[in-house]
Point group: C2
Chain length 336, copies 2
């Protein structure tokens, strides 16, 4: 399919009522900024969990209404009423957190999704939904690159709950005809990533350490990863929403990749290069207590999404790392 030009896109989004759950998080806030620039009327819902990706600084400068609320118990009817596009980014995303408190994990990622689905059916039955999903539940890949038919084999409780939440949304398309698309993301990075610790990908804490002139740790090193820069993720979500009613997109799951896969050790070197050669790291064995949830190498086969929407990543890894480091240099106190 051909994608919209700038004027068409502006016309598509102008005045459109959009709800972004998890809107103060890393990817949610980036979407909010883009949507607001395109003239959409954006409401961001976020529980602002201290251990999650949310940060008040993430929405600075965006013309967005931020509602603080947990999708498990917020009154959703008034919030969802009139919504034309829902970007469903809210999730409990910590792998270790899911193992420690799987009841809370399934509460956010699956049970609350069922509740949100019920409310949306009542008050916004025709709204488009783009669901933020994850490569995580593929587990340790049995073949690379991983396409959408790769067996699902979650390595942890968080993978189970995230898969379940996604599937409930897909059923809305199959059973009720709602335009729904689910994007299974790989590791994403860029401005507004949580860098305080490793809760949002290993790269978060690497970035912090490099900026602070401290060594960072590489666990293992030979594992392959394909990182997606945040602007490319945002573009994927916008395209998914714009084409969600098309037969080649509606009701589908798509893997989203990004930069060509690289070993963690190469990523470490390239991060240091992007920082002007300043930085150093320690190679450690993958911790024994996390070995059962280690997935080894991953990279996505995202040809289906490219073919269906014309999307392709535009920011290469070295450029993305440079931009990210530059962005944080000016804002470090808000993020550490």
């Amino acid at each position: 399919m051909t994608s919209m030009n700038d004027a068409e896109r502006a016309a598509w989004w102008r005045g459109r009522r959009v709800l972004v759950t998890g809107g103060a998080g890393f990817l949610g806030s980036a979407l909010c900024h883009a949507l607001a620039r395109h003239g959409a009327r954006v409401t961001a819902l976020d529980a602002m969990f201290p251990d999650g990706g949310a940060n008040r600084a993430n929405l600075e400068g965006a013309s967005v209404l931020l509602v603080r609320g947990d999708i498990r118990d917020t009154e959703l009817h008034s919030l969802c009423e009139g919504t034309e596009v829902l970007f469903n980014m809210a999730a409990q995303t910590s792998h270790m957190g899911g193992q420690k408190d799987p009841v809370a994990d399934i509460g956010v990622n699956a049970v609350a999704q069922v509740r949100l689905i019920g409310v949306m059916r009542e008050v916004a039955p025709r709204a488009t939904v783009v669901h933020a999903s994850t490569r995580q539940f593929y587990g340790r890949p049995i073949r690379l690159p991983v396409d959408e038919l790769h067996p699902v084999n979650p390595p942890d409780a968080n993978g189970v709950s995230k898969w379940a939440g996604e599937q409930y949304w897909l059923l809305e398309q199959r059973v009720h005809g709602r335009p729904v698309v689910s994007l299974r993301l790989t590791n994403c990075y860029g401005p507004r990533l949580r860098i305080r610790d490793a809760r949002q990908t290993f790269l978060g804490i690497w970035i912090r350490r490099v900026l602070e002139g401290e060594p960072f740790e590489v666990w293992g090193g030979e594992q392959l990863r394909d990182l997606t820069y945040v602007d490319d993720v945002t573009e994927a979500f916008l395209r998914a929403a714009e084409s969600a009613s098309c037969p080649e997109v509606a009701g589908r799951v798509f893997n989203i990749g990004g930069a060509p896969p690289a070993r963690l050790l190469d990523l470490a070197e390239r991060l240091i290069a992007a920082n002007g050669g300043r930085g150093h790291y320690l190679v450690k064995e993958f911790p024994a207590d996390r070995a059962p949830i280690d997935i080894g190498s991953y990279h996505a086969d995202d040809r289906a999404f490219r073919a269906a929407t014309g999307w392709a990543p535009a920011v290469d890894l070295d450029e993305g790392l440079r931009r990210t480091l530059e962005w944080y240099r000016a804002r470090l106190p808000d993020y550490v």
Copy 2:
């Protein structure tokens, strides 16, 4: 592997403490009867949902302690303490029920499983677990027969929750080393099946109608199904438990098939033949409101389980249907 002979099996089960959740249901009660015969000390937990498979008559004559309780809120510690083998049969299994009340559905099939897992970790950390799973979440097969690597694509909310519950149990093996096996069952039939209505497979209501001399309805007719007779299911669960610590079994999911696949129309004819030629049916179109959750044809590739445990179905379809009809003839008032 070679399977146990009768003496070895008796020795294995004698005095063993076994908990069967859903133990008053169709398959759970059949297991309880077999376990009690083998000398195990059996506790059956069952919520006795009126819309489920439970029936007090199911446990008649079995030396089993029946505890009435819902796994969502029963005090599980005292119940699970000392358990050596858990057969985890309790589930909300109604496909339409799952669509109507997906919150209750995920509550039983996934959230309560997480709770049960937590309790078992505390009070029975080394117990073997055999989990009753389902072919259902494969959805409409993209290839036949369906092996365990077939992509998962649940056609309804019940399929989502059943898959999630299974995966939480498998993680207990991967992360904590517990011997866990999950058997993905196809349509099962035989004595103690709920025949009051179609809530437990189409075959239940067919059997009732045939016994009552009323016509039954065949929806569609060309769909293939492979039915498993209850004694063969019971044998599969026993073998799974007996071999759950073996490397070729531990932590695995296995599809369980049974009789060679037959079209629904053939099954209808064979049911009537098993009833001495008495019976008739009406062919109807698959109801439009259920079309989104229709899965078409299914039959299992169960070679992995056969190879790992030596199991093979022993009761062919015509014999199984005859035995089933004969069993119900004497007990119809308890089951309609």
